[in-house]
């Protein structure tokens, strides 16, 4: 049963990922990513990481992706020419990436870490549920937690700085985009 779900989710994830990369129109890419994220959430659940899965759905598939859609809508998602201006980039890119993948797999499969061949140890109930993770966040990882909140603030400021309308740099023509 678990295996079935895993494979379904895995296929979903891979498919989503490939979609992101392959689809011409950025708008569709975004949608593909959403699909990808959902299947990841499923995998997280399999790994008894309920809270992470939830966050994944809410934060990503919710907030972030919406933002994406807006921007794509704003700037308009024209496709890109098929021919790659950089000679051999596409071929090399795929080649190197696959080599990388093989290397990583080798590293993982060849590892002496026995636990990897298991489904992992028995974990207490409530492993990875909001309460547990939340406590961890507020006890051991208080500082990263706070820091990341500040980071969010900074990012927000940055977005404003970059995207704010200034008189002199006001573009004349209006918005253009699909939807």
């Amino acid at each position: 049963m678990e295996a079935v779900i895993f494979f379904l989710a895995a296929i979903g994830a891979i498919g989503g990922a490939v979609g992101v990369v392959a689809l011409q129109n950025p708008f569709y890419s975004v949608l593909a990513l959403v699909a990808h994220l959902f299947s990841l959430a499923a995998l997280f659940l399999l790994l008894t990481a309920a809270f992470v899965a939830a966050a994944q759905v809410v934060v990503y598939a919710g907030a972030v992706m919406v933002l994406y859609v807006f921007v794509v809508a704003y700037v308009g998602g024209g496709g890109e020419p098929v021919a790659d201006p950089i000679h051999g980039q596409r071929f090399l890119g795929i080649l190197v990436a696959s080599i990388l993948f093989i290397e990583l797999s080798v590293a993982v499969l060849g590892s002496a870490l026995l636990a990897l061949e298991t489904e992992g140890p028995k974990v207490p109930a409530g492993f990875g549920d909001p309460a547990a993770v939340g406590r961890l966040l507020l006890e051991k990882f208080l500082l990263p937690f706070e820091a990341s909140s500040i980071l969010l603030l900074i990012a927000a400021v940055g977005a404003i700085v970059l995207a704010q309308r200034k008189r002199e740099s006001e573009p004349q023509e209006g918005v253009s985009g699909p939807v």
């Binding site: 201006p85 950089i86 980039q89 090399l92 890119g93 190197v96 990436a97 080599i99 990388l100 290397e103 990583l104 080798v106 590293a107 060849g110």
Partner: protein
């Protein structure tokens, strides 16, 4: 005062004179400079005599003294002191040098009168005398080398005295470089001596040498050969002689002092001085003797055909020195030195006379254009004849005794040394012929234009002087005596000098007449006492036989000359036509210059050109530019990769990433 302190004074005077004249340059009138110069040398001569007296006062065995002022440069086991060595030999040389120099200074006092470079001339001349005295008085090999090189420089300076003459500067350079080669020979000899004996000091060396070396051991032979290089270079022996004829570019007094009387005989002195070593290296000694022989013959033949008055005399000088070298090498030490002395007299004289004539010729030196000076310049011609007689070993003259004594000794030594006697006599024949060739070409006959002018108007040709070698006009404002050049035999100083020398040329031989008196032999004996060869003495009878033969030969020679140039003046031309090839061969001086040019000069220049054109550009700079190019190329690559495409940056990043991972995976297994 002891002999050594006198010797120091001998050195001091010329040096002071030279420096004084140099510094007082333009400050004092030229006459004063001349006087100072002459006086300085005169003083040196007197001190020399004083030293002689001191020496004679001692018993013959003790007649050698060393004295040194300060450590010149002696550390790390090298003993180089500023020291002199006084013994009969050096004193003998001192007397010859200072004596002749005094006269020549006197001569130059008049001769150079109208020359712009008067101060310079006397400063140089004094410096030369100082150097020559340093050479003969030096107490160790290093100081010897110093003196040796100094005279070399002095001769350079005086050869290119008229430095606006390209020919003169070239000749000077040639002389200097060849002499430096000689110096190098001496330096190497000194090193080898030091290696074997551990000292540069004459005393130590000559004392230890017999124990250190066994006869003809290669080291001592090598030492002697190296010394010979020095000696030959200085004394213009084959194959280092080519500089001497060119040296005639210098003012005539210079030719007469340096290139006839004193410096060129340094080689003879050197061999005599180091006879201890040569005795241990008979091979080297014989080589020296043969070179001397060869030189005297070759030079003699060339002198037969030279048309340039001074050069002709120069070649005769070479051949006379050949006699001396031969003499001292085979062991006729005192005879060699004796000939050295007499030669100094008559050759100096010949040059003075020649100079006088040449100045009368407005600097033309070609004997083909000369004739009839017998009438025009009586005094000069007389002295000229005296010199020629002595040179031709006319019976009774000084040259007669000295030359024949050498040959007699060769005979007395016997064996293969008879060759030296026989060929020596042949050389004597040549000598007689060429010396009187000059006499008969220049003095008698109907006066040439200049001579005629002299007879008629009583003063000299007023043409603008030209360089006899290149024919270009002398620029007279540099110091070359200009048209207003009235000196030929008119200044008393010159007359005195020539007179005295003429007298000596004729009668100096009488101090050493075999069987009658042998002053010089006796005086020098203590020096050569240690040499087994000194034991060999030709019997009085043998000597007289030799003298007889010599007399005959010289008369025959003179006769031939007379027949050729007076009786049948057309024959020489006929002979030249008949033996054209021989004449050209001799006229081109056996092609020695050309030989050296091909063997040494051209290769050196070729190497230089190669180094410049190819090596420096392609190898040395190539090294630089090569690296430079590589780096630049690499820089180009780096900047090409930096192509502005963010995606290719990412690619490189991931490539590097993959590479790193790969490395670690390899490390793991």
């Amino acid at each position: 005062m002891s002999a050594t302190s006198w010797a120091w004074l001998v050195l001091l005077f010329p040096l002071v004179g030279s420096i004084a004249i140099a510094l007082s340059f333009k400050a004092i009138p030229s006459k004063a400079a001349g006087l100072i110069g002459t006086a300085a040398i005169g003083a040196a001569f007197i001190c020399g005599i004083a030293a002689l007296v001191c020496l004679l006062g001692e018993d013959p065995e003790a007649r050698h003294h060393a004295s040194s002022l300060w450590d010149y440069a002696s550390v790390a086991g090298l003993d180089i002191k500023l020291g002199i060595y006084v013994d009969p030999l050096s004193v003998f040389m001192v007397l010859v040098v200072t004596g002749v120099s005094t006269l020549i200074h006197l001569y130059s006092y008049g001769y150079m009168q109208s020359d712009e470079g008067y101060h310079r001339f006397f400063s140089y001349l004094n410096f030369f005398v100082f150097s020559m005295l340093l050479l003969v008085l030096a107490g160790n090999f290093v100081l010897l080398i110093v003196g040796w090189a100094f005279v070399g420089f002095a001769s350079y300076a005086l050869i290119s005295f008229w430095y606006r003459r390209k020919t003169a500067t070239k000749a000077g350079m040639k002389a200097f470089v060849i002499n430096v080669v000689g110096d190098i020979g001496l330096v190497l000899a000194a090193f080898l001596i030091f290696r074997e004996i551990g000292s540069f000091d004459y005393g130590t060396v000559f004392e230890k040498a017999p124990q250190v070396f066994h006869t003809n051991e290669w080291t001592v032979v090598a030492i002697c050969l190296l010394l010979l290089v020095g000696a030959f270079a200085k004394s213009a022996q084959l194959p280092f002689h080519t500089w001497l004829p060119d040296a005639m570019e210098g003012p005539t007094p210079v030719s007469s002092l340096i290139h006839a009387a004193t410096m060129v005989t340094a080689g003879v002195y050197l061999i005599a001085r180091t006879h201890t070593l040569f005795v241990l290296a008979p091979t080297a000694a014989d080589i020296a003797a043969f070179v001397g022989l060869a030189t005297l013959l070759v030079a003699g033949t060339i002198a037969l055909v030279m048309t340039d008055l001074k050069r002709a005399i120069a070649y005769s000088t070479m051949s006379q020195i050949g006699y001396m070298i031969m003499g001292v090498s085979i062991g006729a030490y005192s005879a060699g030195m004796f000939h050295l002395m007499t030669h100094a007299f008559f050759k100096a004289l010949l040059f003075m006379a020649a100079g006088s004539i040449i100045s009368a010729m407005a600097n033309k030196q070609n004997i083909d254009e000369m004739s009839g000076f017998g009438k025009a310049m009586r005094f000069t011609s007389i002295t000229f004849v005296c010199g020629a007689l002595a040179l031709a070993a006319f019976p009774g003259t000084s040259g007669f005794f000295s030359k024949d004594e050498i040959l007699a000794y060769a005979h007395a030594r016997g064996g293969m040394y008879d060759i030296f006697q026989i060929l020596g006599y042949f050389g004597a024949l040549l000598t007689a012929i060429y010396s009187f060739r000059l006499v008969f070409r220049v003095l008698p006959g109907k006066p040439c234009k200049e001579a005629q002018e002299l007879i008629d108007t009583g003063h000299l040709a007023h043409e603008t002087p030209r360089n006899p070698a290149s024919g270009e006009e002398e620029d007279t404002d540099v110091g070359f005596p200009g048209a207003h050049h009235h000196i030929a035999e008119q200044s008393p100083g010159m007359k005195i000098a020539m007179g005295v020398l003429a007298f000596l040329a004729l009668f100096a031989g009488l101090v050493q007449v075999p069987g009658v008196d042998e002053t010089i032999t006796h005086f020098l004996d203590p020096v050569f006492a240690d040499s087994p060869l000194a034991e060999i003495v030709p019997s009085v009878g043998a000597s007289w036989v030799g003298l007889a033969i010599g007399a005959a030969i010289s008369l025959v020679g003179i006769g031939i000359a007379y027949w050729l140039y007076i009786v049948r003046p057309e024959t020489p031309a006929a002979l030249i036509r008949r033996f054209g090839w021989l004449h050209t061969f001799l006229y081109n001086k056996w092609y020695f210059d050309e030989l050296i040019d091909v063997l040494i000069v051209r290769p050196a220049l070729a190497i230089g050109r190669f180094a410049n054109r190819f090596f420096e550009r392609f190898v040395v700079d190539g090294l630089v530019t090569g690296t430079e190019e590589t780096v630049r190329g690499a820089s180009g690559v780096v900047r090409a990769v930096q192509n502005g495409f963010v995606r290719s940056y990412a690619l490189l990043l991931i490539v590097g990433f993959a590479g790193l991972v790969l490395y670690f995976l390899i490390v793991q297994s």
